[in-house]
Amino acid sequence: MAKSEGFLERHHFLLRRLHSLTGVVPIGMFLMVHLTTNASIVWGRINGHDGLEGADAAVATFQHEVNFIHSLPALILIEIFGLWLPIAFHSVLGVIYATSSKPNNDRYAYQDNWRYTLQRISGYVGVLFIFYHVATLRWGWSFLIPGGTEWSAEYAASTMAAALQGSTDGFRLGGLLVSAFYMVGVSLLVFHLANGLWTAAISWGLTVSESAQKRWGQVCFVIGVGLMLAAWSAVLGFATLDAASAREVETNMLEKAAAADGDGAAPEHAASHDEDSDHTGG
């Protein structure tokens, strides 16, 4: 422990700046893409997809997006080095740094000071949320999901909806809790990102004057509002999705894909997917 403190001190500035940097790139960038993708469960309804309309189009759009991600080569390496390690780095250092905080909002109830405290709270909650999110949906720790549904990349929307609802056929109490946790989690993470973009610009010295800080703050606010809308649409979109009819759309897409490949084994592959060890899911 003493050794690691020495390391932290010796490389303090570099680690601090990397901490700030990883928050923006890749984590912040990823979050923006991720939320936009997931929000397709709402904007997909408006756009339509492949002749489908309404919720079906949204399910298909989302599935299409997921399929694209899963078609990336060496996805697991991208995930480990582009996401999980940066997130782990940002989280661990963030928690260490946040322990030096002595919030004093009772005495100095300025808006900036509240954002300071919320940045730390959102960091703590965000770490828990991301862990839960990735563990349950990516690492298959389905015992943490009420109803035990395991997320599947081929049945992306329906399994997501089931995870949020606590069952494959409508809301259960456990599902309500999970959905609420998602709402809180993503909201705090979006705040954390938007506010983090604002503070990062100060830390790096991009915005020096008070007016520049104010202007950039307005930009960050707009970014935050946009992402917040995307995040809420995604959570609410999946939480209110009819899992059974979504699964029908997804099955159809799998069959179509199999037909296009000219290989009759495709449905079988899809059916057997749930039992496979899931190393290509998203």
Binding site: L8, E9, H12, F13, L14, R16, R17, S100, S101, K102, P103, N104, D106, R107, Y108, Y110, D112, N113, R115, Y116, T117, Q119, R120, W198, T199, I202, S203, W204, G205, L206, T207, V208, S209, E210, Q213
Partner: protein, 276 residues
């Protein structure tokens, strides 16, 4: 002058406005001694401030319970809000007690004013705290212009009025410590050996910027930035920005922090590429 304060106008208004105000004071006889609260009640005339009230208490230190206590110990000097001495926590917020007018902070009869010592510095006694750490921080960031000596060697560098205006604003810092008291990242460090272990605070950062802005002062810019890239340096700032709001001199402390942030960014990159 007596003539000035006992003139007719002052007397009339004082009589019309005199009222009772209670002072709840956090007291402590010294390091490692028990903290206690004492309450004093005073008759307040128009135009009084916390200092004049503490002076009255010193002359007659009897609490509301009728118990004879001792004069409250506190730090003060200029009473014009320019020396920084009399900083304390008044009704929950750090500020100078000389400019804390009773008419403003406790406008009504029966109001209570709460006085506490600053919480981020070790208490010497009662409301007097030891702010040596702030002066030490000035040494750490080499807050001076390294001149050759005090002999006459001609004029200093010329300076545009806009540059002077920036430096003057920063140079008004009176080392009062409000920015540190209000900072959620700045913590109490009782022992001198702990001073460089946690955030150095806005005061020293702003002073480092002040001297980096001066043509001769900039000779030590590298040293200052190296110090401020350490574990107690600029990156410990959490951007709560309380500092700038409580600064009695309205010093643009958050701009200074950002400016030091920019300088360290450039310094680090340049050092990585050029090795110096």
């Amino acid at each position: 002058m007596t003539v000035a304060t006992t003139n007719g106008t002052a007397k009339r208004t004082a009589a019309a406005n005199s009222r009772k105000v209670r002072f709840r004071i956090k007291r402590c006889d010294g390091p490692n001694k028990l903290v206690r609260w004492e309450t004093f009640e005073l008759t307040i005339a128009k135009g009084e401030n916390v200092i004049s009230c503490l002076q009255k208490i010193a002359a007659n230190p009897v609490t509301t319970e009728g118990k004879r206590s001792t004069p409250v110990v506190w730090d003060c000097s200029c009473l014009e809000e320019v020396c920084g001495s009399c900083t304390m926590v008044i009704n929950g917020q750090a500020r100078q007690s000389c400019s804390a007018l009773i008419d403003v902070i406790a406008p009504d009869d029966g109001d209570t004013v709460t006085l506490e010592p600053m919480s981020k510095f070790p208490v010497i006694r009662d409301l007097w705290v030891d702010r040596s750490r702030m002066f030490d921080a000035l040494k750490r960031v080499k807050a001076w212009v390294p001149i050759d000596g005090t002999y006459d060697l001609g004029a200093g560098p010329r300076e545009r009025p806009e540059e002077q205006a920036v430096r003057y604003a920063l140079s008004e810092c009176m080392t009062c410590g409000c920015c540190l008291e209000a900072c959620p990242q700045f913590e109490l460090a009782e022992d001198e050996s702990e001073w460089d272990k946690s955030f150095i605070g806005a005061q020293a950062l702003s002073q480092a910027r002040l001297f980096n802005l001066h043509e001769t002062g900039a000779q030590l810019k590298g040293d200052r930035l190296e110090t401020l890239m350490g574990p107690d340096g600029v990156s410990e700032c959490g951007n709560a920005q309380n500092c700038v709001k409580v600064c009695p001199k309205h010093i643009p402390l958050t701009e200074s922090i950002a400016a030091v942030g920019r300088s360290t960014t450039i310094h680090a990159i340049s050092k990585w590429f050029s090795g110096k």
